[in-house]
């Protein structure tokens, strides 16, 4: 019984972190039609910035705030000064689909190399702000800590804020309109380019939060977020790549599948499970669980 409870709770907290990464990818995909592989680099960079803040001030909370804000700034800067010029220069041909994605891959390499230069390649660690000792349930210690609970709460609050932003505000309406139909949005007077940069900023902030929540249970090194990028991507695709809600659902499915497979079958299934779930979902629903049925042109 405690094993089951533990599996459910750890599924939720790991799913929550996958969800943040998946959201970051979906936000950029919706606004720019690019899978942003650089997101792993952006998120690890903001976590290093957070790490430095902790070294200087000793405050995890200040570091979290700085990481989220710098994530937003880095995201906006990448879109404005890197992606936008690329899209301006490349207008037609098959290269339109490939060049921006390759550019994000290149950017990922650059960011990770720069991190290596500044902070070195050795593993660092970030102390969690609250206890990482498991709770006691019916006399047994389970693998779910106060810190895991904190992660869940943070992600839930972030989701709530994003939902309010997207569904209840003018900015959210502009973000959705620009994602669904950039041309009609422009003709309605919406500054689609600026809205897109804002989308990158929100994605960057989401990645910044993901990094600061993920790393305390792990180590910090230039490639520390690569696996999370892959899982975030798998979750986003399961959810249909278009839907923010789908990204969260996809991440939770992934969290549960991985944790249950590793708890009840074999720990070796950690990595394969993600792809078994992905292939199964795509066979049953090729567009993902919440993807749009009709194909949408860029």
């Amino acid at each position: 019984m405690t094993q089951f409870i533990t599996a459910v709770l750890t599924s939720l907290s790991s799913g929550a972190i996958y969800a943040l990464m998946a959201l970051a990818l979906v936000l950029v995909w919706r606004s720019t039609r690019v899978i942003n592989f650089a997101q792993a680099g952006q998120a690890v960079l903001t976590t290093y910035i957070g790490y430095t803040v902790i070294q200087r001030t000793g405050s995890y909370w200040l570091a979290l705030l700085v990481a989220v804000v710098s994530g937003a700034i880095i995201g906006a800067v990448i879109d404005r000064f890197f992606m936008r010029p690329i899209f301006k220069r490349i207008k037609s041909g098959p290269i339109v689909m490939i060049a921006p994605v390759v550019a994000t891959l290149g950017l990922l390499g650059i960011i990770q190399a720069v991190i290596g230069f500044i902070w070195g390649l050795t593993n660092q660690s970030i102390q969690a702000p609250v206890s990482t000792d498991g709770f006691k349930v019916m006399g047994t210690v389970i693998a779910f800590s106060r810190y895991n609970l904190l992660v869940l709460i943070f992600v839930a609050v972030a989701m709530l804020l994003l939902t309010i932003l997207f569904q209840k505000t003018d900015i959210g309406l502009a973000l959705r309109a620009s994602a669904y139909s950039p041309e009609i949005a422009k003709l309605s007077g919406i500054k689609v380019d600026s809205v897109r940069t804002l989308g990158w900023a929100i994605a960057g902030a989401s990645g910044g939060l993901a990094g600061m929540l993920y790393i305390p249970g792990y180590f910090l090194f230039p490639n520390a977020m690569d696996l999370l990028l892959v899982f975030g991507f798998v979750a986003a695709v399961i959810g249909g790549l278009e839907s923010l809600f789908g990204a969260v659902v996809g991440a939770m499915i992934l969290g549960f599948a991985i944790n249950f497979a590793t708890t009840y079958i074999s720990a070796k299934l950690f990595f394969p499970t993600a792809f078994i779930v992905l292939v199964a979902v795509l066979l049953l629903k090729p567009g993902g669980l919440f993807g749009s049925k009709k194909g949408r042109s860029a």
Binding site: D170, L173, A174, R176, A177, Y180, S181, E183, I184, A185, K186, L187, S188, G189, I190, K191, V192, S292
Partner: protein, 236 residues
Amino acid sequence: MSLVVSNLTIDHGAIRAINNVSFTVPQGQLAAIIGANGAGKTTLLRTLSGLKEAASGSVSWNGDSILGTRPEDLARSGIMHVSDGKSVIAELTVKENLALPGIWRKDKKDVAVATSEVIELFPILGQRLSQSAGSLSGGERQMLAIGRALIARPKLLLLDEPSLGLAPLIVEQIFQTIKSLVKKMNLTVVLVEQNAMGALKIADEGVVLNLGSVVAVDSAEKLLNDPAVRAAYLGF
């Protein structure tokens, strides 16, 4: 106060889509641009609203050159383009579609007034506010697209084929609405239409395009009675 298009030339890749086109639409008038499929009507309109670049020539609105201005800036200055067919965002609700100009308009009170005017003009939209725009019929989508443009309080309205794919009765209704708007709101309208007959009937001026060139510019009434135009574009 007028729209002046002079010597406008537009390329579509390697193809010259619009060749040295000139015409003037005085303020408060409705100009119909007619011509067969492939005459370059839509390309011309997309250039007027900033979606497409011109190769040469000039376009001015009230004396200001507007060529090369971005579509969102033109929209904010009162030039609204309702693009062809079903220019609505299907994934958003009717209410959200109508709310788009309200995102940037400063005068929120007037946005509310304009919105209720649009619902008065097209009552069916009022009944469908919380439905997704994708669930609307073709005629309702056209009403929504025009209604959304009106909420921006436009001075110049560019309409691309509002009759496309609609039943004759609905076409008649849309055309009459457009005509009444010109008078009521002192709008200037450029109406691009394949339905030449319907368009010329409500228009003040007519521009006939063929393979990217102007073949006739005259008052709509004269064009309707011109034997050559009748034979080529009106079918009788």
